[in-house]
C-alpha cells in the first residue's frame, strides 16, 4: 500500500476538523443572515447597501475558503494560494473588463430614438 501522508503531516491537515467545519458553518450562517438583513431593512444607508452586500459576500467566500476548502498559510498550501491569486486576477479582469467595455460601448451607441429620427 502506498504511503499517502508525509512524515509530520497529519491527516487532519487536509480534511480539517469537526471544530473548524462547525465554526465555518456558524460564520457562514451569520454572514448569510447579515446579507439578508442588510438587503431587506434600512439598517444601512441605502446607497451603501450594494457595497455592504459585496463586502459580506467576500467575507463569506473567505470563510468558505479557509474553513471548508482549507486554503490557508501552511507550507503545503503555498501553491494553492498562488493558484487562487491567479484565479482571482482572471475573474476580476473578466468581470470588470466586460463591465467597463460594455459601459463605454453603450455610451458611444446611438439611442433607439436617435436612430428613428435619422431614418425619417
Amino acid at each position: 500500500m502506498e504511503q499517502d501522508s508525509a512524515p509530520g503531516v497529519g491527516e487532519s491537515e487536509l480534511a480539517g476538523s469537526f471544530a473548524s467545519y462547525t465554526a465555518g458553518l456558524a460564520f457562514a450562517l451569520l454572514l448569510t443572515g447579515a446579507s439578508f438583513i442588510v438587503s431587506q431593512t434600512h439598517l444601512l444607508w441605502a446607497p451603501g447597501v450594494p457595497a455592504g452586500l459585496i463586502v459580506l459576500a467576500i467575507a463569506q467566500m473567505g470563510v468558505h475558503l479557509v474553513f471548508f476548502l482549507h486554503i490557508g498559510t501552511g507550507p503545503d498550501n503555498t501553491n494553492n494560494v498562488l493558484a487562487l491569486a491567479f484565479g482571482v486576477l482572471i475573474v476580476v479582469l473578466v468581470v470588470s473588463g466586460s463591465l467597463w467595455i460594455m459601459a463605454h460601448l453603450n455610451a458611444n451607441m446611438l439611442s433607439p430614438s436617435a436612430i428613428m429620427q435619422m431614418q425619417r
Binding site: M61, L84, G87
Partner: protein, 196 residues
C-alpha cells in the same frame, strides 16, 4: 519551495491531487466569471418584461441557501468520518448531503418552472436569458455533483476506504464546497441586489 518541503521530500500524492483538482476548480470559477460578467452587463435589459425586483422571492432563495450551506457542512463531516474510517458516519453524512443537494435542486427547478409559467422564460428578455444560463449552470453543476456523489458512495461501499477512494472523496468535497462559494456570489449579485 520552502525549506520545510525540501526536507520532507516530494509532496505526498494527496497534496498533489488536491492541488491539481484545485486548479480545475479555479478554471471552473473562471467559466462562471464569464457568465457573471454577461449577467452584470445584461441585468438591466428587460425588454419591457419583468425585472428581478418583480420576480425574485427571497424567502424561497433563503431556503435554497440553507440547503446548500448545510449540505456543504455534512459533506465536510463525511470526509472527516472516512478519514477516521468511520463508515457509518460517512454514509449518514453523505446521505444527508445528497438529500439537501437534491432539495436545493428541486427548489431551483420549481423556481424555474414558476418563472416560465409566468411568461418569464429565458426567451423573454436578455436579462432572463443571462439569469437562466448563470443560475442554470450552477444547477447543472449541482446535478453533476449528485451523480458523482452517488458513484463515490457506491465505490466506497465496494472498495472500502482505501487511499485512492479517500482522495477522490476529498476532490468531491472540494467540488461541493466550491459550488457553495459560487452560490454566495449568485445569492448576493443576482438575488439580493436584483430584488432591491
Amino acid at each position: 519551495m520552502s525549506a520545510h518541503a525540501g526536507i520532507a521530500g516530494p509532496a505526498p500524492v494527496r497534496i498533489v491531487v488536491a492541488y491539481g483538482f484545485w486548479i480545475f476548480l479555479l478554471s471552473d470559477i473562471i467559466l462562471f466569471s464569464a457568465l457573471f460578467a454577461t449577467y452584470a452587463v445584461l441585468s438591466g435589459q428587460t425588454a419591457g418584461g419583468p425585472s428581478g425586483r418583480e420576480l425574485f422571492e427571497l424567502r424561497h432563495v433563503g431556503v435554497e441557501t440553507l440547503c446548500l450551506l448545510f449540505s456543504s457542512y455534512t459533506c465536510g463531516l463525511g470526509v472527516l468520518a472516512i478519514e477516521r474510517r468511520r463508515l457509518q458516519g460517512f454514509y449518514l453524512s453523505f446521505a444527508l448531503t445528497f438529500v439537501l443537494g437534491a432539495a436545493f435542486l428541486g427548489l431551483e427547478l420549481s423556481e424555474f418552472v414558476g418563472l416560465i409559467a409566468r411568461g418569464a422564460g429565458p426567451s423573454r428578455s436578455a436579462f432572463l436569458s443571462a439569469f437562466f444560463s448563470l443560475v442554470g449552470l450552477h444547477g447543472a453543476h449541482v446535478s453533476a455533483g449528485l451523480v458523482w456523489m452517488s458513484f463515490m458512495v457506491a465505490q466506497t461501499a465496494v472498495r472500502g476506504p482505501r487511499d485512492f477512494v479517500r482522495r477522490r472523496l476529498l476532490c468531491f468535497s472540494l467540488f461541493w464546497h466550491a459550488l457553495d462559494i459560487i452560490w454566495v456570489a449568485l445569492l448576493t449579485l443576482v438575488y439580493l441586489l436584483g430584488a432591491r
